[in-house]
Amino acid sequence: MTEIDCLGRRCPIPVIELAKAARSAPVGEVFRVLADDPAAANDIPAWCRLKGQEFLGQSGHAFEVRKIKD
């Protein structure tokens, strides 16, 4: 699992960092994004939907995403 710490950083930075990390990672990789911007709870699942990736869930300020396609 790759952790991406975006605590204290405003949207769209958490989504940008997630996209950058996912770009070079193999399919199947799980990312744990730490983000406390209020928009992250909406935008990380929306990114998964738009990009065809799997949103695994949210717990507090942690969001888990699995890369399921290149």
Binding site: R10, P12, P38, A39, N42, P45, L50
Partner: protein, 442 residues
């Protein structure tokens, strides 16, 4: 001393004010000295012209927008509104509750405006009241609707995509332990979940239901008539916030209370409408003499109300033509943005939508940066992204839909918008998005 009865004709009865009288006068420019044609001698204080406005007009603003695409916030003033407003200034300043001649003239003017708006809305004049803004009308409608039904219940049912004025009332209602609030969700296109709505309004203890006629943020038209039928079945009055629909598309049926806002259709700011149908219980949430008849506190801005009435009539006359024209421009934006901007989500219902409004979100783009870049390029738009909000919260509408909230742009057009402006916007947008993404390393 004997008081003159109110009904006695004024000495200048041949010039009784009506909205038609005010709105059919030929247009006269603001700067022209012919504004004072009512027999008044120019006041000595006017020999030294006031420069309050010209100071602002002549100050340099590096971000002056040439193409205004934010009609859903405030539409530019309709020429009929401008004309009627000026014409009403001479008679509309007095207190319409006073019994002397100038007060009676102001009263007649207010009543003429009331009759004209009532006719436009196909309601009775005594069902209609004017408020100092759309938000004030919405507050009066929801709070008064809740108060009027206290004996029936204390729950407010509302969609998750209402104007924030309704959501603020809901939050206060719950926080003050006056009752509950049930928020009914929408789908990915922003359409009300009718099944959940039916269940919510059918629950025991519902005082009032509130539904926006069409989303002010994404343009999706709501199924008001079906939602209203569920309310009727449950015996719950429905308030419809028609601010974005009135003047753009036919206002749906099935409501008990209706609100709107003049500056959304090209009337002046500072005029809100509330219609409470006969037989619907409404109790004033404000201190005042008359608790059961909606009327705003304090003096009404009669010239602005006359301007609102006159422009509403004019706007409704052009509604079909303008709706077709703007809808085609919106369709062009929807299609072209999706084609020319990579990683973009055009949100809202593509079919059942307002004619003049379109919203899209660009992945990896800071909404505030895009808004400022567009402003520098000469385009005024609004955004539901959190970085553009004073609260730093993303738009509750985009959240309720579950669509991307960053990089969000709302474009809303008006009667002055040209196809050339839209083409220019579509030409510059992809480059601005690419530039902002490049700065972020995307």
């Amino acid at each position: 001393m004997q008081r003159r009865p109110v009904a006695e004709p004024d000495t200048d009865a041949q010039a009784l004010p009506t909205v038609a009288h005010y709105s059919t006068r030929p247009y006269r420019s603001v700067a022209g000295s012919d504004l004072h044609d009512s027999g008044h001698a120019p006041d000595a204080c006017l020999q030294q012209p006031d420069d309050t406005v010209s100071q602002v007009k002549n100050s340099a603003d590096p971000a002056g927008a040439a193409s205004y695409f934010d009609a859903a916030t405030a539409a530019p003033l309709h020429p009929v509104a401008r004309e009627a407003w000026h014409a009403a200034l001479d008679d509309g300043w007095a207190d319409p509750d006073r019994l002397y001649a100038s007060g009676r003239r102001a009263r007649r003017l207010l009543e003429a405006a009331q009759a004209a708006v009532a006719e436009s809305l196909e309601v009775r004049p005594d069902e209609l009241s004017f408020w100092p803004s759309g938000t004030a009308a919405l507050h009066a409608g929801v709070l008064g609707g809740l108060a009027g039904r206290q004996r029936a219940g204390a729950t407010l049912v509302h969609s998750a995509i209402e104007h924030s004025a309704v959501l603020h009332i809901a939050a206060q209602h719950v926080a003050a332990q006056q009752g509950d609030a049930t928020s009914v969700g929408v789908d990915l296109l922003g359409r009300l979940d009718l099944e959940a709505w039916d269940a919510a309004v059918s629950a025991p203890g519902v005082a009032l239901a509130s539904l926006i006629s069409a989303s002010h943020e994404v343009g999706t038209v709501q199924p008001v008539e079906v939602a209203g039928a569920y309310c009727k079945e449950a015996g719950v009055p429905l308030l419809v916030d028609a601010a974005q629909t009135l003047g753009r598309a036919p206002v749906p049926e099935g409501w008990s209370l209706l609100t709107a806002s003049a500056h959304k259709w090209g009337g002046p700011p500072g005029v809100g409408l509330l219609v409470v149908r006969k037989g619907v219980r409404w109790r004033s949430p404000y201190p005042g003499d008359d608790l059961f008849r909606p009327q705003p506190r304090g003096a009404a801005d009669i010239p602005a109300i006359v301007a609102a009435a006159a422009s509403l009539r004019a706007v409704l006359d052009e509604e079909d033509t303008e709706a077709k024209r703007l809808s085609a421009l919106v369709e062009r934006i929807r299609a072209e943005v999706a084609r020319s901007v990579p990683d973009v989500e055009v949100v809202g219902d593509p079919e059942n939508r307002l004619p003049h409004l379109v919203t899209f979100s660009c992945l990896y783009v800071d909404g505030e940066a895009l808004l400022h870049a567009l402003d520098r390029a000469g385009f005024a738009v609004s955004s539901g992204s959190s970085c553009t909000a004073s609260t730093l919260q993303p738009s509750h509408v985009l959240e309720a839909m579950g669509v991307l909230s960053h990089g969000n742009v709302r474009v809303s057009l008006h009667r002055g918008t040209t196809a050339e402006e839209v083409d220019q916007f579509l030409a510059v947008l992809p480059g601005l998005v690419t530039g902002i993404r490049a700065e972020a390393g995307m």
